[in-house]
Homo-oligomer: 254 residues x 2
């Protein structure tokens, strides 16, 4: 008899930002596959086994988890944030798609979670209050020219843009290049939010205009949100600025 | 002394999909402003007061809640899903922006939640596993020509598209028109997911190709996700199909 494969996200921080549904999945599994720092966010029992792997070995990790589930173990694959956004749920599906047919018969349960852009948005106001998109800036996974074309089109479309994986030691220049592209389309005053570790003790939120936006403010734990031409900043005495995108767009056709 | 204004989302379903952080905000407030069916999802105490309003009176509701918080009451504004995605957090910010200066001094706490597209994606696999966008199809809030232009640009960009507010009695034709636009850009076989009430007892998930997509399958509780040209369907014996978007795009530049 095969086991269940759970795929959960920890949310942006710890247990305070995981749903009861996700916590229940964690309580049911006995083997946990994930990037070490994400596994560290879980409060596991002594009988629950951790199999930590490097952040970039996602397909190998998915295959290892599927192999164990097929052998009868209840397995949990752990992502940060939501497992469906640039994370392990897609890697598990890729592995099933290319793997042995028995993997298609497994019981697969994905539990949704709070993804980074939603956590950052909540801390700062409502920058995602109108149409928006999420784009991974990692050119490990797609050609850089695809990324630049997408940035240009979504900025022309007037969408707010959440950038995941904005920068890393191996990808130091891409975020600055992305800002340059966006400056060619969007007004200089467009608000940019550097939202780091939202909901965690080391949280840091910074807001600046696109013309001032400095890629050096971001690190691997940062989600960068670039507003649209309609995104507004509200200054508050003694409190951080609020950033929001109005729900309305005025037009002649209505 | 003024009160705190909490803005929470119920997630897609009930308490099983709300974070402890959001549930704690609910326990602290004494007056609750929201659309009645969303307030019904909360398990309120006898001392907690409900002020239900129609779904479309968002700005009035935000102003009423801010007025009560300024009067010293701990108030909770309730959205379905995540409050920052086409929901009350933006309405509260709009009200603050246009309101009396004392509203800027209020303690505002927005707690993030699981928004509909993430809940639908989790149930069906990982359709949002790569770059994606969220677009509201409501032309109550923006001109229809803005919506059509956005749909065309994001489809050309290769993003997966989550459509919120796809249809209502007052807006019966827009979803069909949106499918027509997308058919002019995307392959006929592109998977389309009609994800209704994900995580609730009346949940219903349907997958069909873009050429077959029938707007009549959607209602107000549906989030429609349209894949990209790379989105794949995995057939599983005795189980629902999985839909996912691979994390990789092959290219010559890498």
């Amino acid at each position: 008899m095969s086991g269940t494969l759970y795929v959960v996200g920890t949310g942006p921080g710890g247990a305070q930002q995981m749903t009861p549904e996700a916590l229940q999945a964690v309580s049911r599994a006995t083997e946990f596959f994930g990037y070490g720092p994400y596994l560290d966010r879980l409060d596991l029992r002594p009988d629950q086994r951790r199999i930590a792997s490097d952040n970039r070995e996602e397909l190998d990790r998915a295959q290892a988890a599927l192999t164990r589930a097929a052998a009868g173990v209840d397995v949990c694959v752990v992502s940060g944030g939501d497992p469906g956004v640039f994370a392990m749920a897609a890697a598990v599906c890729e592995a099933i798609d290319a793997g042995p047919s028995e993997w298609r018969a497994l019981d697969l349960v994905v539990t949704p979670g709070v993804t980074a852009m939603l956590a950052v948005a909540a801390r700062i106001g409502a920058p995602l209050g109108h149409d928006f998109c999420a784009i991974s800036l990692s050119d490990n996974l797609k050609p850089w020219d695809v990324i630049t074309r997408r940035l240009r089109l979504v900025a022309e479309a007037g969408l707010v843009i959440a950038l995941y994986n904005p920068i890393s030691k191996a990808r130091p220049w891409q975020l600055g290049a992305a800002f340059d592209i966006l400056r060619s389309v969007l007004p200089p005053s467009t608000p940019v939010i550097f939202g780091r570790a939202a909901g965690r003790p080391d949280e840091r939120m910074q807001v600046m205009s696109l013309i001032e936006a400095d890629a050096g403010r971001a690190d691997m734990a940062t989600c960068v949100i670039i507003g649209s031409a309609l995104t507004r900043v509200i200054e508050r005495p003694g409190r951080p600025d609020l950033v929001y995108t109005p729900r309305f767009i005025a037009g002649e056709s209505k």
